[in-house]
Symmetry: C2
Subunit: 342 residues, 2 copies
């Protein structure tokens, strides 16, 4: 008798087809696939060959419905084009590409409300884990994370009060180290140039300010910021503004490397000597900072590693062994280069 294929399913083999072919129960096939150790050697081989012959692939939707748990990692980042987050995301993908987990990526556009909305979309899918950038969730987002019923990793920053786990570093300390380096190098009128000014930028600014105040060098006029999204073009413009406002400026700590690059190009264009007349420090240490001329001092951060570590921690938590320390600080490293070597 010809088995009447369902009108709905596109005719792909189901677990029942495999079970029939292998002469076992459907549940045994399910087990053989998910936890081979619990099925005898014999049946396992039979099932395996039936799977291969039929080209059976489990339906992730049915699996998610039945087990009330989807093999999905939800990932929330503020930007897809900012290289910094792209690196984190790459680390996450590379760590997850072997396993069964899919990734659902959300772009919050640096908006707390958008983050809330995305968490509301992710929740009903019952993801296996959630990875979110930053530690400044809105109260509503925080509640959504706390009640998600899965491991949660906050990345990019460390802070005192993790929802669950955290991997990152201290932006405050990074900003402080950058400013201290400029002070040590002999610069005195050290400006801060920042764009977008998201919470991480704010903390870098705070670190800068702490160092400047400690050295008795802080002056509000040294700070030039804008909420506008960061770009190389903007870096150039902000630097011109800063210089117009305060011609005595002798160094700048830039919020990020795009800004620093804009400053560097403007110095070339205006024939301002770097590092002699102006010292430049960036943040994140993109690949090109080392190649730039002059090479640019920057605070190296370990974005890719943050992504990998976040996945490792989430995976461990899924398997029931949460790491003993819920907050991992991967630190940073100040890379001293020509742009501050005077």
């Amino acid at each position: 008798m010809i088995k009447p294929r369902s009108r709905r399913g596109g005719g792909r083999p189901t677990i029942a087809d495999v079970a029939r072919k292998a002469g076992v129960g459907a549940i045994t096939v399910s087990r053989a696939l998910r936890d081979p150790g619990r099925v005898s050697e014999d049946l396992r081989r039979q099932i395996e060959s039936a799977v291969n012959e039929l080209g059976y692939v489990p339906d992730p939707n049915a699996r998610a419905l039945a087990s009330a748990r989807a093999e999905v990692f939800g990932v929330l980042v503020p930007s897809l084009t900012n290289n910094v987050f792209a690196e984190v995301v790459r680390g996450i993908y590379d760590s997850l590409s072997d396993g069964p987990f899919r990734i659902q990526l959300g772009n919050t556009h640096y908006s707390g409300l958008e983050e809330e909305r995305l968490l509301q979309v992710f929740g009903p899918q019952r993801p296996a884990a959630l990875i979110v950038a930053g530690i400044d969730q809105t109260p509503a987002s925080r509640k959504l994370l706390e009640t998600a019923g899965c491991p949660v990793v906050q990345v990019m920053e460390t802070g005192p009060d993790p929802v669950d786990m955290m991997v990152g570093f201290s932006h405050f300390e990074g900003g402080k180290a950058a400013a201290e380096h400029l002070i040590e190098a002999g610069y005195r009128r050290i400006g801060f140039i920042g764009a977008r000014m998201d919470p991480r930028s704010q903390r870098r600014l705070a670190g800068y300010r702490a160092a400047m105040e400690a050295a008795g060098l802080f002056d509000a006029r040294l700070t030039t910021t804008t909420p506008v999204p960061s770009s190389v073009t903007l870096g150039r413009e902000l630097f011109r503004d800063a210089l117009a406002k305060l011609p005595s400026l002798d160094a700048v700590f830039c919020n990020n490397d795009d800004i620093a690059l804009g400053v560097l190009f403007e110095c070339h264009r205006a024939s301002i000597a770097v590092p002699k007349t102006i010292g430049i420090v960036g943040f994140n240490d993109l690949d090109m900072m080392e190649v730039a001329f002059p090479s640019v001092t920057s605070v190296r951060t370990y974005r890719y590693e943050i992504g990998r570590r976040a996945v490792a921690m989430a995976l461990a938590a899924i398997e029931g062994n949460r790491p003993e320390s819920r907050v991992v600080d991967l630190g940073f490293e100040l890379k001293r280069r020509e742009s501050t070597a005077r």
Copy 2:
């Protein structure tokens, strides 16, 4: 009587809860949510308020299982950190953020086999549409795309034989335009510097070669390529190699802007005058090319727009009205700047 909550579902309201509260059948709730026009005004309002009161959110997994169609766009790109693809992806996200569709992003690492593997993973999810970068799928990948049973958009390139739909531009023409521009500007020993050399880079190289041969200027020694992934650092190194090999070089067409930037920095470092001694043309026209000093001529491509258009076409196809022209060429524009103005 207390309704015994299932042991599996986490206690979230289901469609049956909403139906009971609104005093209607479950199926009517389903319709009210998916196609409000088919439910009377009265019931619609009742259902709506029941949904709000209970905080009901449909379970996407159950929905996908029952309807054999997930509200998911599968997106396959060769790299997450390459700004070019990041822009395409951003366009896709921005176009999809309003609607019900989720996005599942896969990173093929420029590997045909990896692409196949990812398509095999995406298939069983029954995505609503697939967007893949490039037109050089392996035969197996092509078959998977053809039998996916959903709209497929190939992006970044145009070509003669779309699986379904295409949005992009001609890399051959882009490379040709770049070389022709250098020839017109009076350069004669025009090199090509390329890294990674994926199919798109190959076609740019072919365009360059066509222009050079047409002008009687082609010389195999002018071409410097490597399969190594592209970076600013690598651009610098390749340029040094090229110059060592052929000191008479008077211009370079770079595979992409990272390489061009590496060349520019090396020229600064080695005090080579740009554009006088060496002319430089990049590809893609990243934001910073305009700000660089000297500003760098580049072939502007419309990555973000490609992403948006791909989604628009897929969405139209889902609704049953495929666009009349299945291949959309968004073109490019050669941006002439200081680096070739001699």
